[in-house]
């Protein structure tokens, strides 16, 4: 068996995402890197997490990579095959989802996410995917983890459209809207961020190996809170990389 000492930025992000999951938690995921992160956690430190797909799939064991939630490949060997009302209603809205993974076109310093449109909603804009279950997860999960590429246009001053609310304009605004939970982590290919408990602003938590603070700040359009001591993000272990490449995403569709 070859040792996997090298890893891709996406593999590092998947490992960082996996690290956020505690054993026994219920996790709502969309397709892509979040699935890789969740299956990685389930095969390592969190064998008893429950993985949900919004359309009505619980704990599948895919043997082939799917092109999306609509691909029967990702439903394979599920323990429950049901519905939106069952997953997003009796589990998520009922308050049983501990963690929701979210991605998007852009986010801002309060973790508000946009997956709907870019441009001026009243004028010229391009329309994209929209919400799907993202807004529901952002509204009712106990906490959410945002996974997004580290680019200035994606880590934006303000988003053109709030599809999935983070802390809105910060402080107590999210609470005032009586939304449950809120973003706990923002994971990019350069760093891991958290959110300040009071101002709810994005705060740098750790920087990935080989990345400088300058790289991090130069590639985002808002100023994160930067604490004095900045640890280096834990790199994925050789075993984690092996699991991703040999078992979880052998075609590298989401992690290479």
């Amino acid at each position: 068996m070859t040792a996997y000492l090298e890893y891709t930025p996406l593999e590092l992000m998947a490992a960082a995402g996996a690290r956020e999951l505690k054993d026994g938690e219920v996790v709502a995921v969309g397709i892509g890197l979040p699935v890789v992160a969740s299956f990685l956690a389930k095969r390592t430190h969190a064998p008893n997490i429950t993985i949900l797909f919004e359309l009505g799939v619980v704990d599948p064991e895919p043997v082939h990579t799917g092109v999306g939630l609509a691909d029967p490949r990702v439903w394979y060997r599920a323990k429950v095959l049901s519905s939106f009302v069952d997953m997003l209603g009796t589990v998520l809205h009922r308050g049983l989802v501990d963690v929701g993974f979210l991605g998007g076109l852009e986010t801002d310093m309060y973790g508000n996410l946009n997956t709907t449109l870019l441009g001026d909603p009243r004028g010229k804009f391009r329309h994209f995917v929209g919400s799907g279950g993202a807004n529901d997860i952002a509204s009712s999960a106990r906490r959410t983890i945002i996974i997004i590429r580290h680019e200035a246009r994606k880590l934006n001053q303000a988003v053109s459209f709030i599809t999935s609310p983070g802390y809105l304009r910060g402080g107590g605004e999210r609470e005032a809207a009586r939304l449950r939970g809120g973003p706990s982590r923002l994971i990019t290919d350069k760093a891991v961020f958290g959110f300040d408990p009071v101002s709810k602003r994005v705060r740098l938590e750790s920087i990935h190996p080989g990345i400088t603070l300058e790289d991090v700040l130069a590639n985002m359009s808002f100023e994160p809170i930067v604490p004095d001591d900045l640890p280096v993000t834990e790199a994925p272990t050789a075993e984690q990389v092996r699991l991703i490449r040999e078992e979880i995403d052998p075609e590298g569709m989401y992690s290479r």
Binding site: P72, W75, V85, H127, G132, N135, T163
Partner: protein, 299 residues
């Protein structure tokens, strides 16, 4: 009582301007043969709804058959965006009432249960809600919880004129089973005034009676049963056939421009006389055999 009908007969019962709930999700169990026949019959001004926008809705929008879409966003998964829907929204030629998956599902659920309204936590604080309050103010409101005094967002029930649902198994009365996740399909059918069932396999009622826990669509909601193999092509039907990746790639590419859409429609919709002709056009038996699902994997 047998409700068996041809696709053309079933589609002919849908008036222009009707609200049609579609069973597709992205690229699976989409009402593709249905959409192609609706386009051929020249039905226009439809309102289409589904929790997650899918290829069936996109094709109908591309052909100009749709005036309004009520959905929770959508895509063709990794194959691309819903180009026709997105273009329509960007150019203002399509009215889009955009929700989230759960807010759509709750609207169907309220319709299915005869509830006058249904409270929900989703949408608060989002621009989705702000948008809805502008373009569809009659569909959303708020109510004070009489038990706690908390103010809740409430949604109006959705009651489509007809739900069109692509299933794996049905009998001639319309009692139907869905294998795999059912997303919003059961609530869509039960919220709608009636349903058209399009099934891959037609079975005797005797089979339905032997495993009745599986019957998620009751015959008494169904007006027509259309038995039409490969009717979801190029999308997948779990346990029956896989999606046709090559064809979906072709569609995603073609729909990037209005010209491309026209060419696609000429070749695969207007250019074929019926579903069987379409199946020949996309590769016939040889191609379809490659798509037949493995009995264990289901794809």
């Amino acid at each position: 009582m047998s409700k068996l009908a041809t696709l053309a007969e079933a589609v002919a019962t849908i008036p222009s301007g009707a609200h049609v709930a579609l069973s597709g999700f992205a690229i699976t169990r989409c009402n593709m043969a249905f959409a192609r026949e609706v386009i051929r019959q020249g039905i226009r001004g439809l309102t289409v709804s589904q929790c997650v926008g899918a290829m069936d809705a996109d094709l109908l929008v591309g052909a100009g058959a749709v005036e309004r879409i009520i959905y929770g966003g959508g895509s063709l998964d990794r194959f691309g965006r819903l180009n026709c829907v997105n273009r329509g929204i960007e150019e203002g030629t399509l009215v889009a009432e955009e929700y989230s998956s759960l807010s759509m599902a709750f609207r169907y659920l309220a319709g299915s249960l005869g509830l006058p309204f249904i409270p929900i936590r989703s949408l608060r604080g989002s621009d989705i809600l702000r948008r809805l309050q502008e373009i569809a103010p009659s569909e959303v409101s708020t109510v004070d919880d009489p038990f706690t005094g908390e103010n809740w967002l409430v949604l109006k029930p959705l009651v489509p004129d007809v739900a069109v649902v692509q299933v794996q198994v049905a009998d001639e009365e319309g009692n139907a089973w869905i294998y795999g996740p059912r997303w919003d399909n059961e609530e869509q059918v039960k919220a709608s005034q009636r349903a058209i069932v399009i099934t891959e396999r037609l079975v005797p009622t005797e089979v339905i009676r032997r495993d009745a826990e599986r019957t998620v669509i009751p015959g008494f909601k169904v007006s027509h049963v259309v038995h039409l193999p490969f009717s979801a092509h190029p999308t997948s039907v779990y346990r029956i056939y896989d999606y046709d990746a090559e064809h979906i790639v072709r569609y995603a590419e073609a729909t990037k421009t209005p010209e491309g859409v026209r060419k696609y429609l000429d070749e695969y919709v207007y250019g074929v006389k019926d579903h069987w002709d379409y199946l020949e056009r996309v590769g016939g038996m040889k191609r379809l055999n490659d798509l037949v699902a493995d009995p264990i994997l289901g794809y």
